[in-house]
Amino acid sequence: MEELNQNAAYRFRLQQFEGPLDLLLFLIKKNEVNIYDIPVAQITEQYLEYLTYATELDLENLTEFHMMAANLLYIKSRMLLPIEIEADDEIEDPRQELVDKLIEYQKLKKLTELMEEKEREAEWVIERKKLQRALPFADVELWEKVDVWDLLKTFSSLMTNLTSERIIDLFEEVTVNEKMALMTELLETKGQCNFTDLVVRSGSVMDIVCAFLAILEAVKFRMVSIYQNKMFGDIIIKPYEKVNSDGVAVG
């Protein structure tokens, strides 16, 4: 018996109770007794036993635990008193108030479980990477005051912020890319163009070299076809035709 109690006490210590009612409910369940007919003596004994051990623990609501102990002892003593039975009187069970509280607390525990479940469900949220607010609405007003010099100023200030190696990579006085873009534009607007059209600054060697490289590049990627009607004559550039003489498209 002694050993059994020790065991029971040990097991109590593993439990955390939210309050005296919680502990009482635990004891009632553990002893498998009817909540409406609590064996007060037995339960009180175990309750007090737990309190002795619990003082070693960090129990938050110690006062309330002790108040409940007092209450239990009071109920126990009242139950020991002989009851004079009078036919008219309703016999009041001294345990009734406690039972009501326990039932109410049991209900709360059930509700708390439901809320716990809800909390678990809401434990994860799936969130967007960024707020969606700043949408790229193309505001017409946005561009109203912009002119071509703003473009240049913006670009040059961006470039001065770059390190020198990147400038070499990305910005040259004249580039093949620039010539390609110009050529595409001319083909679009005029349908065809001449090599000389691509040389904007006459006399600039870089200009000529880049224009020439641009044409070679464009031919390689089948963007254009080139024609030259005489040696050293101007080169005529036309959009690449995808159709052969039979009218069948070729890749």
Binding site: E18, E60, Q132
Partner: protein, 181 residues
């Protein structure tokens, strides 16, 4: 009224797409410039469309607001990249206190303590700090004790539309507890 309201439905969808937080119907009406009836019909249309199995989005109502979000069934796949865990979980004591308040509001401190059998001071203060409960009035008894109730933040935290959506006891539990109540 056999209106389809396609354009209106589309507009409401666009607004919901742009919002990240639940938005109230009144705000939807104001932003869209549509009438209450039309907005409600549009929401109905959306709800119906989203309920189809090829839709990855659903419309839900949280704390009086409306929002669209990915359907729960896809969360497992999405969690790795988009999931955020809420680590502000409540302690058991806080959750018990909050449950009493949620299910019995408005309720005073004394009434809470009577049910839990322990002092409720600390827990009430904590829940007030977290914005999950608030003072909602004073009870008309001597001493005029403060009554507490839950907040919108509470609804958001538990993803509830209203306190009417609090989880209910099942029938057997209800019988057991309410016979004596």
């Amino acid at each position: 009224m056999e209106l389809q309201l396609d354009k209106e439905t589309a507009l409401i969808e666009a607004i919901l797409y742009l919002e990240n937080e639940p938005i109230e119907e009144a705000a939807l009406i104001r932003i869209s410039g549509l009438s209450k009836d039309v907005v409600e019909k549009a929401l109905e249309n959306l709800q119906e469309r989203f309920s189809r199995s090829d839709s990855g989005i659903e419309l839900s109502r949280v704390g009086g607001g409306i929002l669209i979000a990915p359907k729960k069934e896809y969360w497992d796949v999405l969690r790795d990249r988009y999931g955020k865990k809420n680590d502000a979980k409540l302690s058991k004591a806080a959750l018990e206190t909050l449950s009493i308040i949620a299910y019995s509001q408005p309720i005073t401190r004394g009434e809470i303590e009577a049910i839990r059998g322990v002092s409720a001071d600390t827990m009430i203060r904590l829940l007030l700090d977290r914005g999950l409960i608030k003072e909602v009035g004073k009870k008309n008894v001597p001493g005029k004790p403060i009554q507490y109730g839950t907040t919108k933040e509470f609804l958001k935290f538990f993803r509830l539309e209203s306190i009417a959506d609090l989880p209910k006891l099942d029938e057997s539990d209800r019988d057991r507890f309410e016979l004596n109540g």
